[in-house]
Amino acid sequence: MLNKLKEIRALNAFVKKQSVGMQRKLMLYWVSMILVVFAAVILLLSIAGVFSQSDERLQEVMELHLKNTQDNLVAHLDRLTAQSLNLSKELSREIEATLIQDGISLQQVNDDPERLLKLQQIMYPLINATLQAADCNGVYVILDATTNTALAGADHSRSGIHLRYSNLSASSPVTPTVVYFRGIPDIARQKDLELHNRWNLEFDTDQIPGCRELMDATLDRPAQRYFWSRRIDLKDTWESAMLLCVPIVGSDGTVYGVCGVEISALYFQLSYPAADGQFGSAVTVLAPLQDSRLLLSEGLVGSVSGTYLDGQETLVIHQGRYYNEYDTGTERYIGLHQIMPISRGEAEDTAWAAAILIPQDSYAAYTADIQKAWVMAALVLLLVLLAFSFFLARSFVRPITDSLKRFQQDELPEQSLSSGISEVDELAEFLNARARNQRLEQGELPPNIAELFDQFVVRKDLLTESERNILRYYIDGHEIAEIPDLAFISMSTVRKHNRSIYEKLGVASRDELMLYIDLLRRCGRLQELF
């Protein structure tokens, strides 16, 4: 490992020492410029808020969604309240009529199973009608009277009827099954209703906080005081529900009992499906707000599909710029909530809020998606720009390098090889001139004389071997007269050879020949004759 590092370092140093090629340098500058521009653009965009767009969008979407949800919830609950108030009035009328008819007060109905049955028979059709017409899964009425005052728990046992739907599913079947949850069983048998498996004859008013107080109050009209209970577990069953408690008010102001509708956790879940958007699943919540906490276990939660909510959590609320954060401790959700008044005249002030929640993870995934998209786009753009710059640099540099190469390879750069780039041409011109001057300074022959020499040298190839032999004697400095003695040939032969030599070398006389030879000798070019 260390060796590798050393190697790399050595290589790096080596590379640095070498001068960087034109193309590389140009590429580098281009790349730097691109990166700087990129960074600047990104900075600008983030200032302009392009990247926090999704947060803003989310806020818009959520505000709209919350408004819709809240409107729906308000409308839903209002309608139910109105129907319950109506029910209360009708029940009041019927009960009062019966009591007056029999000449008794409500107190006297206690311990009288027959009277209770009669009253229940009168109340049943109203309850049933309300159940059919209302967007809820149960309707009930509790009379402030009991079948058996002598029993141990008689003070919190009250007679009444509670009808519920037994089979709820996502889309309510056209003919839902009504089940008899509380009430005198004779009615169930008469109406061919199934008895709930956890049926009991009477209500346990201790299970409904605030019910007792409502029945003890003195009111003018039912609308004066009513409330939605917090979510309560239905005794011995796996279900829980919120009950609307509306007093049944007699004309003298006494409260005959309480009636209302039931929205079970399951019903609410089925009525308010999770809205699956691009940001994740949005869950609808109706829950009490206390100390900046949303108590889901005491309210109702819509369908939680796509999330890990189980409807029992307490969410700690952190306010945010665009949206709030809701913290269960183990998971976080983002969303918005709004207070909505759903009760009236309640003793303890419970603030109810409608909220929509999105799992933070799915939103984070969405923004991560967007971020990824941005990153991908930026990357692709960067790559394209880099490639572009590479090709541009190359096309810019290539003619220069080509002409420089050609420049190097040429021996006689007499003609100015135009490279298309003025600077290179100038350089070529300059270098050519300098070369020329340099040659002259070194005592080189002017060009036309050099030509003669060149020709002379070239023509030496025309000589035959025997002629070259004679020439060699001359080069060695011998006179004509010495040749016969040296070469053992006659003078005539020598003369004949001379004539030939002069003719072939293009000289007029021996003097000229010797001049050439002498000059060549001086230029050091004598070798060329051999």
Partner: protein, 117 residues
């Protein structure tokens, strides 16, 4: 060359003039040098008492004439480098590679022009 020629010079002198000859070893023709008259030819003939004197002068002039003849022969005789014979200009061919006597040239298939037609 000169020494070679002097060894081949044949004396053809008379008491009146000096003359030498060289024989071409190829064609067998004799070449005669320019006669150089003995400057004291008349005197030699007349004055017999100075004969030795005139003989010495004759010898002295003959030597000179011999040298001159050698020079003249030098004009027209070559040595074939192959057979090493003394060859007159008519039998000596100027070839591309080397100048040869006519016989050697013919034998070795070298063609050329004779020095003298």
């Amino acid at each position: 060359m000169t020494s070679l020629l002097s060894s081949h010079l044949e004396d053809c002198s008379t008491p009146q003039y000096f003359c030498f000859s060289v024989r071409c070893e190829v064609c067998g023709e004799y070449w005669y040098s320019s006669s150089i008259p003995f400057s004291k030819a008349a005197q030699a003939a007349q004055c017999r008492e100075k004969k030795e004197l005139y003989d010495a002068i004759y010898q002295r002039e003959k030597l000179r004439a011999r040298e001159a003849a050698g020079q003249e022969a030098r004009e027209r005789f070559s040595q074939c480098p192959v057979c090493r014979r003394l060859v007159c200009d008519a039998c000596f061919l100027i070839c591309d590679e080397m100048d040869l006597c006519r016989e050697c040239a013919g034998r070795m298939q070298e063609f050329g022009e004779p020095v003298a037609p």
